[in-house]
């Protein structure tokens, strides 16, 4: 059965998303849509969001009034999934399943045994990381089937791509597949997230990407999200003219991200308030955390602001009476966040390892050193060395891997200050290794960082069905030359023109075509008009098709007037065959070859977007 849609599913650590595109569309510009996901956002309230927070809350009898959790498709769900789960989990953390994805990749625990919520109090039903992941996929599947199921287009019948971090080991990938199976989705293809992010960037660029990326480039993908940081290196290569991305190195799944940054700011604010004589308890710290995130985003996006106010309302009925006011200052951002999390370091400065205390609390292995740039240094020096592709990676004299481009992904990298800092640190290292620094064109930015991975997966799925993403661009129109028909002269009427297709839509630069079976008469020895035509509508015409009637579909370009010479010939018509070539520079060359092959004449036309005429003979 023909699948109707290609679907990309991003199971993020903090948020999940789903994007889809039509499978049968031949137009590369068919839009990719992000699925709206209805979910409980408050008791008794279901609203649509484009993201599904990756949180599950296991409600007890006392958490919510009876009947306040009903979904359109289920009156009394066993779990709360999404925004309400996250909200309520902040109030009662013992029943919240969070970071299931990080648990799925943590080899030190039994990932199929029910361990989440981690350290939940007695009596709370538990899930395994595998089941939790299956719950999210099942939720997305239910939402899809309710919305589209009427037409018989269930999610299980579509072409499915699920993204995984490049750092996932074989077992984590297998568990992801199993989670999808448990949710009723049997045939899924796994795609690595950095590649999906790259494809999202390609989709956003349309054709302009060819000016920024070449075969042989090495792209560092720097993905810093809410709770995790992932680095990988992607090599750009080609196979049969098709763009192929190879992931040549990957770092660890580092548990460090935007949440750490917000918490750090909140602590600074708490200290400031306590120094002013206030007492801040855990709940107020939570409020500070939430407000720090908002202040951080405001100050990062509006660089002219010097501070952003933070107000904690008094608890209980003393709202105004208990109000505490403070602010996040620009210096806090620079000092705590930019310098604290992205310090300028040398390429051999590795993350600090805390001295191990003999007994450790069991739990996720949170990163001890918050400096993202140090983790990056470690990735480019040590971890790349261990990669099987190490010899193919461009490296400097100290062995540091030196990328040619950077692609940013993840919510934290929305802040231009942080992107600039990463690039400037990287450039210092590159210069030290003797390579050129990265300029603005070497920093690849895709908008919509929250949905990029899901969109990129859908885009990849569609591309690989068709001809893939071609390295060389193809003609964006169909081109024809005008052939005067052989007809008796009628006074006052021009001889009708036929259009011979010489460049089919999509013909790649650097390719050639011959029109073997036909001969045409070429006027030599006297000035002649060579007429060119093009069409953006007729995309199916093949090389050599001769058209007589085309209505509005073909427009004429301005003609070329030229005299082709042949010794001793004045005003004759010679039989010739035609060969066409589109050069790598986007020029159309029409070669007229005489019947005996002894003479060749060339007509040239520039068919890149700004069509200009040039003349040659």
């Amino acid at each position: 059965m023909e699948t109707k849609y290609i679907v990309g599913i991003d199971l993020g650590t903090t948020n999940s998303a789903l994007a889809r595109t039509e499978a049968t569309a031949s137009d590369e510009n068919t839009p990719i849509e992000v699925q709206k996901i209805p979910q409980l956002v408050n008791p008794n309230e279901v609203a649509e969001r484009t993201l599904l927070p990756s949180f599950i809350y296991v409600p007890g009898d006392l958490d919510f009034p009876k009947g306040s959790l009903s979904l359109p498709w289920e009156k009394e769900p066993q779990f709360v999934v999404g925004e309400l789960a996250r909200k309520r989990g902040a109030e009662n953390p013992g029943r919240l399943v969070a970071s299931a994805k990080s648990w799925l990749s943590y080899a030190a625990v039994n990932r199929t045994s029910p361990i989440l919520p981690w350290q939940a109090p007695e009596g709370v039903p538990k899930l395994s990381p595998l089941e939790a992941s299956a719950q999210f996929i099942q939720y997305l599947r239910t939402v899809w089937d309710i919305a589209s199921g009427k037409n018989g287009e269930r999610l299980s019948e579509q072409e499915l791509l699920v993204t995984v971090p490049a750092s996932f080991d074989e077992e984590a990938r297998e568990l992801t597949r199993r989670a999808a199976e448990q949710a009723g989705l049997r045939h899924v293809t796994l795609l690595e997230e950095p590649q999906a992010a790259f494809y999202a960037w390609l989709e956003n660029q349309s054709d302009a990407w060819r000016e920024k990326i070449r075969v042989g480039d090495l792209v560092l993908v720097c993905d810093v999200g809410g709770g995790t940081t992932d680095f990988s290196l992607i090599a750009v290569s080609e196979e049969n003219g098709e763009l192929v991305l190879k992931r040549v190195a990957v770092g660890e799944h580092i548990l460090l991200g935007g949440d750490n940054m917000d918490l750090a700011l909140a602590r600074v604010l708490r200290q400031r308030l306590e120094a002013a004589g206030h007492r801040i308890d855990t709940w107020q710290l939570h409020g500070l955390w939430h407000q720090s995130r908002i202040a951080k985003e405001e100050l990062f996006s509006d660089l002219s602001k010097g501070a952003h106010p933070v107000t904690l309302l008094g608890k209980g009925s003393k709202l105004v009476g208990g109000t505490i006011k403070t602010e996040v200052r620009r210096e806090d951002l620079d000092h705590v966040l930019v310098d604290g999390f992205f310090p300028v370091v040398a390429s051999n400065e590795l993350p600090a390892r805390q001295r191990r205390i003999g007994f450790q609390e069991l739990g996720l292995p949170y990163a001890a050193d918050p400096a993202v740039t140090k983790h990056l240094a470690r990735f480019l020096s040590e971890q790349v060395r261990n990669s099987p592709e190490a010899s193919n990676i461009r490296r400097g004299p100290t062995g540091l891997a030196c990328p040619t481009h950077v692609l940013f992904n993840g919510g934290v990298m929305k802040a231009s200050l942080l992107r600039d800092r990463v690039v400037s640190v990287l450039n210092t290292w590159l210069r030290e290794e003797g390579f050129e620094a990265l300029g603005a064109t070497h920093v690849l930015e895709a908008p919509d960082l929250e949905h990029a991975v899901a969109r990129g997966a859908a885009y990849y799925g569609r591309a690989r069905r068709g001809r893939g993403i071609r390295i060389r661009s193809g003609a964006s129109r169909t081109y024809y030359i005008g052939i005067e028909s052989a007809m008796p002269a009628v006074p006052g009427m021009e001889a009708p023109l036929k259009a011979l297709c010489v460049v089919p839509f999509g013909m790649e630069e650097g390719s050639e075509a011959k029109i073997p079976d036909r001969e045409f008469g070429l006027v030599v020895g006297e000035p002649a008009e060579f007429r060119f035509l093009s069409s953006s509508i007729r995309k199916q015409d093949q090389v050599g098709s001769l058209l007589e009637d085309w209505g509005d579909e073909i427009e004429e370009l301005s003609p070329l007037e030229v005299t082709l010479t042949l010794d001793g010939q004045q005003g004759s018509v010679l039989p010739v065959r035609l060969e066409t070539r589109v050069t790598e520079l986007g020029t159309l060359e029409v070669w007229c070859v005489s019947r005996d092959g002894s003479h060749r004449w060339k007509l040239e036309l520039n068919i890149r977007e700004k069509s200009d005429k040039s003349l040659a003979a």
């Binding site: 309230e45 009034p65 106010p309 105004v320």
Partner: protein, 183 residues
């Protein structure tokens, strides 16, 4: 178990009924197929919590509105407090926060629009047949419509309301549940 002669009757009637009509006689089916309860056991009846739905009261929507403004904006806490003792600076800080969050509540659940889209303090002409519920006239109201006046307030109307479903049971009277922190 039914008595002997009854059983004989049942057997014969069932035989002919099944042979000629393809079905078991109803009363036979009831008697014979009814599951036997073990002696002494009481049949288990599934207990479903019956939520008592209170009668809908006209004020339910208003209470819901108060609850939403309190939950997301803490408006009721704010309005209930005696703000006289506090300096403007402190009151101002609290007001900004309450204002922002209550505004978000309005935006989330309602589509509110002015009744007239023209700018305030501009001249406006009212045609005959305007709805007095939508337009209030003040000043020198002598001659009937059409009349021209200065627009002092653009008015507000609800174009769309997207409210969550009402809570069940006792929740309908609750504007904010009490909060108890368990250490």
């Amino acid at each position: 178990m039914p008595g002997f002669w009854k059983r004989v009757g049942f057997a014969f009637r069932s035989f002919s009924s099944i042979l000629f009509h393809g079905e078991v006689p109803e009363d036979v089916a009831r008697e014979v197929l009814k599951p036997e309860l073990p002696s002494g056991a009481t049949a288990e009846i599934a207990v479903t919590t019956v939520i008592e739905e209170p009668e809908a009261e006209p004020s339910d929507g208003a209470v819901q509105m108060l609850a939403l403004l309190q939950r997301d904006g803490r408006l009721i806490d704010f309005l209930s407090e005696d703000v006289a003792p506090y300096p403007d600076v402190q009151l101002g800080a609290a007001v900004r926060t309450v204002h922002q969050s209550c505004r978000e509540v309005l935006e989330r659940y309602f589509k509110l629009e002015p009744i007239f889209s023209s700018e305030e303090d501009q001249l406006i002409t009212l045609q005959p047949g305007f709805d007095p519920a939508m337009v209030k006239l003040i000043g020198n109201v002598s001659s009937g419509p059409p009349m021209t006046g200065v627009l002092r307030h653009r008015g507000w109307q609800v174009k769309e309301a997207n409210l969550p479903s009402l809570p069940r049971g006792s929740g309908r009277k609750v504007v904010a549940p009490a909060e108890v922190e368990v250490p």
